[in-house]
Every structure is written in structure tokens, then in C-alpha cells.
């Protein structure tokens, strides 16, 4: 699995029912990185393909944004200064 220029190798056991996939998602969400969202997506897609279902979560439509980098007050005030100087 690739996230931008980083590669992650994830070993997953395909779950055989919805309860199992929920447990897997629950485990992955404990990690505080963007990886869980990708991992969850991969698990769901792999599971869905394996049992011939449509993916339960469509990648681009329902993927939650990863926790983003915060905007600093200094960035906001610099933008104001920049605009005032134009």
C-alpha cells in the first residue's frame, strides 16, 4: 500500500464476516497516523472483493479526511501582512 512516497506493508487476514471486519477496523483506529484510514480501506476492499460484494465504503466518497496539520496563528497574521503590503 502506498501513501504518497511512503510504502506500507500490511499483513491482513481476510475476515469472513462483518463482525470480524469491525474488530479489525477497531484495532487499526488505535494508531494515531493516517495509516488506519488506508488500512481500513484496504481491509474493506479486500474483504469485499473476496466475497464478491461492492466495497462497503467507497474510497473517494466516504473516506474521512485524516487529521490535518494545524494552521498556526503566525501563518494567519503573515497572510494578513502580505495582503496589506500588496
Amino acid at each position: 500500500m502506498r501513501d504518497r512516497d511512503k510504502y506500507y506493508y500490511i499483513q491482513v487476514a481476510l475476515p469472513k464476516n462483518n463482525a470480524a471486519i469491525q474488530r479489525m477496523v477497531g484495532e487499526s483506529e488505535r494508531l494515531d497516523t493516517p495509516l488506519p484510514i488506508l488500512a481500513r480501506q484496504a481491509c474493506i476492499n479486500m474483504y469485499s472483493e473476496d466475497v464478491g460484494l461492492q466495497p462497503r465504503v467507497k474510497p473517494e466518497a466516504k473516506q474521512e479526511p485524516a487529521p490535518g496539520v494545524s494552521v498556526s496563528e503566525q501563518s494567519f497574521s503573515s497572510a494578513d501582512d502580505f495582503l496589506d503590503n500588496l
Binding site: R4, V69, S70, V71, S75, S78, A79, D81
Partner: protein
């Protein structure tokens, strides 16, 4: 219901970075993708999406506009004639940029949970300093307007309501923050272009700003020449990228062959490092030409020099040979789009206040 995005857009020659600060939030939502766009077709899209046509895991990213179908980013590998628009003199206001704008606006709106088909974009975009001086008005005229399209089969209308164009590197300066009553320098190392900007406080000192066409691509051309000389064939674009990443120790060097002969990985390592070092020296010559004092020291009166752009990962050691105190920002490739998103957000707030 209209959904509004105040978008920071940094369309690089290798990668495109887009950032937005959602209403009520103080964190960025971002896209960082390959700038590649290819001709696609609906049938191919459906085959890939159903999993019957390919084993690739590329995310599906399809835009239909005015009767044509396009595949974007990694998904461009599934289409015909993929291109980053490299070498196209209209690349900052031509169809390549418009398709990217449509696709990534819809992608961000979907990620932010919008169900609206009407998107309004207030755009802040960065272009190299020379293009900023020569094409600013043209870019604004050409991109302003409305676009009917579909994104992954879902219909949208995009209204590009306002556009401001600034020089690449200005976004990074805003994201990092200006130093009141002090000078900072920005070195923005891209794949094709290097931009260098000097700010006195928050004001650009344009006589000491410039851009020149030396970048990662220059180093990769050098690598390719050495490779062809030894092995009698050119490197493919994907091979060059793998060797580049391998030079940072992120992945192993690829197993390559030339007419049945296995390529020596040690050669690849030596050549890419030499190509980066040589290109770094060329960049330094240009930087020193603009920023050197009579004593011969470079940027000696500056408080800080900030190194950003995807090329910073490769060229930072060489920049520090002439500016020891130069700092590289973490996630340096995203600094411009983040700063432009902050700017877009502030411009939108000022407009709203004016209307009230």
C-alpha cells in the same frame, strides 16, 4: 446549496499539492498527487473499478468534461498519452490545469462530506516567478469561469469565482511566517524550476527574486545520460523516480536490465548522487549570483533562509554548502499549497466583511 472551497493550489511539474482550510476548522485538508493526466474512457474506468480489467490498486480519479474523459494522478497510468503538461507553454492556464482544478475541487468537496453539485472556488495559485511576472493576468482571465463536468460519474458545476496568482515560494513564506523588520529568503526547489524569493518583512523584494529552470529533472537528465552511455538504453520515467527515492534510502535500488544484462546497483547509487551534487552546484551558482554580498558570502544579511519544495529533500545538503544556516521545512513539498490556502481563506474573509 453551493459548497465553497478556498483553495491553495500548487501545480508542480511532477506533483500537484492542493490544500483547503474547511469552515470552522484550523487544520488543513490536503491532496498530494502526481500531476499526470491521461486520456481515458468510461469503459476502461468501469473495468478497473469492477476489478476485472486490472490488478492495480490505483485510486479511480476520472473527470468527464466537454465530451472527453480524463484519468488523473496515479490512475493516469490506466489511460493513453499520460502527461504532466511538462514543456507546454500554456500549462498554467491550459486544459491540463483546468482538468486538475475540476478533479481536485470535487475530490476535496466529497472528502469534506459535501453532497452539493455546485462548487464555488476561490483560488490562490502559485506559479514560477518568471511566469508570475509574464502571465499573471492571462492565467486569471483564462481560469475564471464556470465548468460543467463529472467526477467519477457524479455531475458537478464548478464556479471559479476569484483567482489570485502569486509566485511559488510566497505560499511557503506565509505558511512559515514572516519575520517583522527582518529579511527571510525562500529557496523553492521544484522538479523543473527553482524559485528564490527575498522578503523584507512581509514585502517581496522583487529585485532579489527570480526563478530558473534547474531542478530534480536536471539531475535525472544527467543520470539518464550516464546510464545510456554505459548501457545503451534510456531510463524510463518510473525507473528514474525509483532511483531518486532509493538515493534517500527510502526503497532499495530497482533491479534493472539492459539487453539481458543486469545493471549494477552501485553504479546507480554513484551516478544519482553525482547528478544531484552537480545540479546542486549549478543551483548554488544562480543563488549566489543574486544573493551574494561584496564579501562573497551568500544571504549573509538574512535572518533565515527556508528551503521548501520536493527538491529540498535532495538539494538541502548542497544549499548548506553556501548558506550554512538554511533550514528545510518538514513536509517541504506542501508548504506552498498550505500557505496559499491560508491566503485564500483570508481573502474570502475580507470579501465577506466588505459585503457585510
Amino acid at each position: 446549496m453551493v459548497f465553497t472551497l478556498n483553495l491553495g493550489f500548487d501545480r508542480g511539474n511532477a506533483r500537484t499539492n492542493v490544500a483547503v482550510i474547511p469552515d470552522g476548522s484550523k487544520a488543513f485538508v490536503e491532496i498530494d498527487v502526481s500531476s499526470m493526466i491521461a486520456e481515458g474512457n468510461i469503459r476502461r474506468y468501469q473495468m478497473v473499478k469492477s476489478g476485472s480489467g486490472s490488478s492495480d490498486n490505483a485510486s479511480e480519479l476520472m473527470v468527464e468534461h466537454e465530451g472527453s474523459v480524463y484519468f488523473l494522478a496515479d490512475f493516469a497510468s490506466q489511460g493513453r498519452n499520460p502527461t504532466t503538461g511538462f514543456g507546454d507553454k500554456n500549462r498554467y492556464h491550459g486544459s491540463h490545469t483546468k482538468i486538475a482544478l475540476m478533479g481536485y475541487s470535487a475530490m476535496l468537496a466529497s472528502r469534506l462530506g459535501s453532497n452539493s453539485r455546485d462548487l464555488v472556488v476561490n483560488l490562490v495559485m502559485g506559479v514560477p516567478f518568471q511566469a508570475f511576472q509574464a502571465e499573471q493576468e492571462k492565467i486569471m482571465d483564462e481560469l475564471t469561469g464556470s465548468y460543467e463536468f463529472s467526477y467519477n460519474g457524479r455531475d458537478f458545476t464548478l464556479y471559479v469565482d476569484s483567482i489570485r496568482v502569486f509566485m511559488e515560494g510566497a505560499g511557503a513564506a506565509i505558511y512559515h511566517g514572516f519575520e517583522k523588520d527582518a529579511t527571510i529568503g525562500i529557496v523553492d526547489s521544484g522538479s523543473l524550476t527553482t524559485n528564490i524569493l527575498r522578503f523584507n518583512g512581509a514585502e517581496a523584494h522583487t529585485e532579489e527574486c527570480t526563478s530558473f529552470e534547474i531542478g530534480i529533472g536536471t539531475a535525472l537528465d544527467r543520470l539518464n545520460s550516464r546510464f545510456e552511455e554505459k548501457y545503451g538504453r534510456e531510463l524510463e520515467a518510473s525507473e528514474k523516480q525509483q532511483i531518486l527515492y532509493a538515493s534517500l534510502g527510502r526503497i532499495p535500488y530497482p533491479d534493472l536490465y539492459a539487453s539481458g544484462e543486469q545493471v549494477d546497483g552501485a553504479n546507480l547509487h554513484t551516478w544519482i548522487l553525482a547528478a544531484i551534487a552537480e545540479t546542486g552546484r549549478d543551483k548554488n551558482t544562480q543563488i549566489a549570483k543574486l544573493w551574494s554580498s561584496q564579501s562573497g558570502k551568500t544571504a549573509s544579511s538574512f535572518k533565515r533562509v527556508i528551503h521548501v519544495g520536493g527538491g529540498a529533500y535532495y538539494f538541502h545538503p548542497s544549499l548548506q554548502q553556501i548558506i550554512k544556516f538554511a533550514e528545510m521545512l518538514p513536509e517541504s513539498e506542501r508548504a506552498n499549497s498550505r500557505g496559499f490556502a491560508v491566503l485564500a481563506s483570508r481573502i474570502a474573509q475580507r470579501k465577506a466583511l466588505k459585503r457585510a
